[in-house]
């Protein structure tokens, strides 16, 4: 397992043409790992192989501040909020790295 709760992470900038579970609004955004949820088949691979390859990967709940997603103004007008999203390990990288 590459990450654990409390780690800062960045969502990779990948924009694959195939099925993926990275909501595009998270590409390149920094968040903090909230929890490890278990190991689950990576949907990208499952779909690409028509269900044949169900190799699992750690899945994490990751929290993102509104300011990080939408700019500093958004939390000012909206009030404080966070978005929590479940992301597979290969969708993430340490914040210093650039895929």
């Amino acid at each position: 397992m590459r990450f654990s709760a409390g780690d800062s992470v960045r969502v990779r900038l990948d924009d694959p043409v195939h099925h993926t579970r990275v909501p595009r609004y998270l590409r390149g955004r920094r968040g903090v790992v909230a929890e490890y949820q278990g190991d689950y088949p990576l949907p990208d691979t499952v779909v690409l192989t028509n269900g044949a390859d169900r190799t699992t990967q750690p899945l994490y709940g990751v929290r993102f501040r509104a300011e990080e997603l939408w700019g500093p103004g958004q939390a000012t007008t909206e009030g404080p909020f966070e978005v929590w999203v479940d992301l597979w390990e290969s969708y993430l990288e340490p914040p210093g790295e650039r895929s």
Partner: protein, 197 residues
């Protein structure tokens, strides 16, 4: 502009029938398995299930702790499970004076159907799905839910293997009610987090 926009019941039914035949022929499922899932959905999937979980959490603090720690295990006590659809993790998230939870699925319409019944149309539409993660307070206001600027909002985007259930705050003035009486107060939108009770 003909076939693509024909949403008549018979066209959809014919399409479903063809898809069903194709997935059964491909060995992805069986008629018996489809019947079983549809039977469970038709007879058991209801927001009453979610309401029972919330009412139990309000009256039983050890259940409340258990359901927040491991919801799949805790709801068995009520005879409930996440078995209606594919096996998924259930996570209950509790509202408090300073925190409000809201559930969305920006990628499609993931939702704990067995505990909430079929999702409302707005839950599946792009407007809700795109705005809930960007301006949740404005979206909540349109549902008549006006939160103070101090309340932190946590939006849960169910993008993977976990389904989320909001445990709303117990309404004021409900002290005299028993568990069944409390369950009646819990609405579907309260379980999604678009309203407070």
């Amino acid at each position: 502009m003909t076939g693509d926009h024909d949403h008549s019941g018979s066209a959809i039914a014919a399409r479903v029938k063809r898809v069903e035949a194709a997935v059964i022929a491909a060995g992805l499922t069986t008629e018996a398995e489809l019947d079983r899932v549809l039977e469970v959905l038709a007879t058991k999937a209801s927001p009453r299930n979610g309401a029972r979980i919330v009412a139990r959490a309000w009256v039983d603090s050890s259940f409340a702790e258990a359901v927040l720690a491991d919801a799949n295990a805790a709801i068995e006590e009520l005879g409930l499970s996440m078995e209606a659809g594919p096996p998924v993790r259930l996570k209950a998230v509790a509202n408090s004076e300073s925190l409000h939870n809201l559930v969305v699925c920006t990628l499609c319409s993931c939702y704990p159907v067995g505990l909430l019944g079929p999702p409302p149309t707005w839950y599946k539409q792009p407007a809700y799905r795109s705005r809930a993660v960007r301006e949740p307070r404005a979206v909540l206001a349109e549902f008549g839910t006006h939160l103070s600027q101090q309340t932190e909002i946590r939006v849960w985007d169910s993008s993977a293997e976990t389904r989320y259930l909001v445990i709303p705050r117990r309404p004021e003035g409900s002290d005299g009610l028993d568990e069944d009486g409390l369950a009646v107060l819990v609405t579907r939108n309260g379980l999604i987090g678009t309203t407070v009770l």
